[in-house]
Subunit: 354 residues, 2 copies
Amino acid sequence: MPLATIEWVGGLDGHARLIDQTLLPTELKYIDCEDVPTMWNSIKRLAVRGAPAIGIAAALGTVLGIRGSEASDFNEFEEELRHVANYLGSSRPTAVNLFWALDRMHAVARHNANLPIDRIKEVLLEEAKAIIEMDKTVCRQIGRHGAELIADGTTILTHCNAGGLATADYGTALAVMFAAHEQGKRISVYADETRPLLQGARLTAWELMHAGIDVTLICDNMAGLVMKQGKIDCVIVGADRIAANGDTANKIGTYSVAVLAKQHGVSFYVAAPASTFDLSLPSGHFIPIEEREGNEITCGFGKRTAPEGVKTYCPAFDVTPAEYITGIITERGIIERPDADKVRKTLGAQSQPG
Amino acid sequence: MPLATIEWVGGLDGHARLIDQTLLPTELKYIDCEDVPTMWNSIKRLAVRGAPAIGIAAALGTVLGIRGSEASDFNEFEEELRHVANYLGSSRPTAVNLFWALDRMHAVARHNANLPIDRIKEVLLEEAKAIIEMDKTVCRQIGRHGAELIADGTTILTHCNAGGLATADYGTALAVMFAAHEQGKRISVYADETRPLLQGARLTAWELMHAGIDVTLICDNMAGLVMKQGKIDCVIVGADRIAANGDTANKIGTYSVAVLAKQHGVSFYVAAPASTFDLSLPSGHFIPIEEREGNEITCGFGKRTAPEGVKTYCPAFDVTPAEYITGIITERGIIERPDADKVRKTLGAQSQPG
């Protein structure tokens, strides 16, 4: 991917720069975040979205929040750090990478508690940049592992956007497609438009077209029909949080696609980095599900399309139980038919820093 | 319902008047159709939609098409009638009520072939008005039969709009809800917004709110989650064409809802008049599925929401196999667990005139 979804520009007095994804595909515009509220707002309103990218946004947001600190000792500094982390953590409750990144930044600060405060600030910026680099490597590894599942001529259905725009540059679910395509395999993709915010129509279709991959856009409610017509060989989606037993929270509608896939004998894969696992949660039952404003449903296209005052229900995510998942593609390999044992074996204890 | 979705105004020199449903819910505006192309266009662009209403539109369109005839004998008149019918029949291929109404008008003309041409024109207008009256009666009967299935406190999920706006005044799937509500039963409804044209958001939510029925609007891809959460007691939808074995074509996405309902042990009902059955088709495999323009997906609301040039697939309907259907609610009673035998027993031979 030629575009940097999210990056840091300059030194400690620089800023975070991210693509305003709410304007795609009609407009490619960047937001320069100079302070934490701008970053919080960018996460909240989905200018930056996708679990890994949100993690990076949280790490960069932490730097923005503490670089001006005038703390006289580490305790004071740590207090400010906690304050920044709590604030950033309130932006989106479901994506675990956000908390993973905040915890990681905090751990690095503590690990360097003996350094002068100004040096700790530098170390935190280096760490945030390291998270970006790690994300790129992890995405490439996910792509490489996942591409082994993809035969020449495969047609894949995906939901929402787990592409370069959801990460620092290569995606998770889309990484598998990019890698298979780079290996010369001819693949086709059906992209669910993904209501209410149309990440599939706006972002996934755009990324795949740019990569030269054959993509057909459908409404979410057409996924069942195209499976029934035998058009789909497998489903690959991303994840926002994965419980210890493999239950996976992802964009609303993923669960319906998983049920339909099972019904039609279509393989259903989740592609996600180890940082998306939350081993503290025994099952998906414990994953908090963010509810968003109903106007995403009633006036999602800049035009009111439902009666004034209508009640809405607008969950941003749903949880797909592990029994619907053929495999979870991680940078450490594929967890086939995931359960608590297999997840633990693949991830070990490393996935939860701090 | 206080509003006349579609009616005839005045005598033979009058016109058809219909609500332009593309403007709802923000604007309530009527279209006066003085000629056949205006009616054809109204059907094509879904200003009038819903299988029974399309049947009525076809009957009124026939009157518009032949009232100016200067034919000197019945053969000549019948030739003109055929021409009008072929033209109207080309507007939307899936809704069988359209062909049912055209055939019925033709049969009535033939039956009165011995009358003067001007008198036949009058008879055809009377027949079109009779179809409207019959539709009202049929909808009330569907409501009465269906309401027997609805206990106090039931929560129903519906897809698309099979309400008063899809018929002359009371609906089919929504007739069941209106009737249950009138009986004093407390019901709640989840309405799928129904992409791409949002008939659920624009029309169903509007009708139910006007009737004082509790309605919650969701995106189509949330149906699986609300079923998993145990919120839904039953699904009721309309139909555009039902084959002899009970396989049912309805708005795209209905099949996915049916699969999800079965998976969650939720009853799935279809509500439709006998005129929606096409006994000439042994199964849903033979129902032609209309494909519509991709711009309904890519710029459905006056704003482009997908990349220029993206490929789309835009089927307007899908077919739900009979094995997913708990019952079909008709004006003649409920066909439980439908199959070819039960459909034949309930409908007899009367459903296909001509």
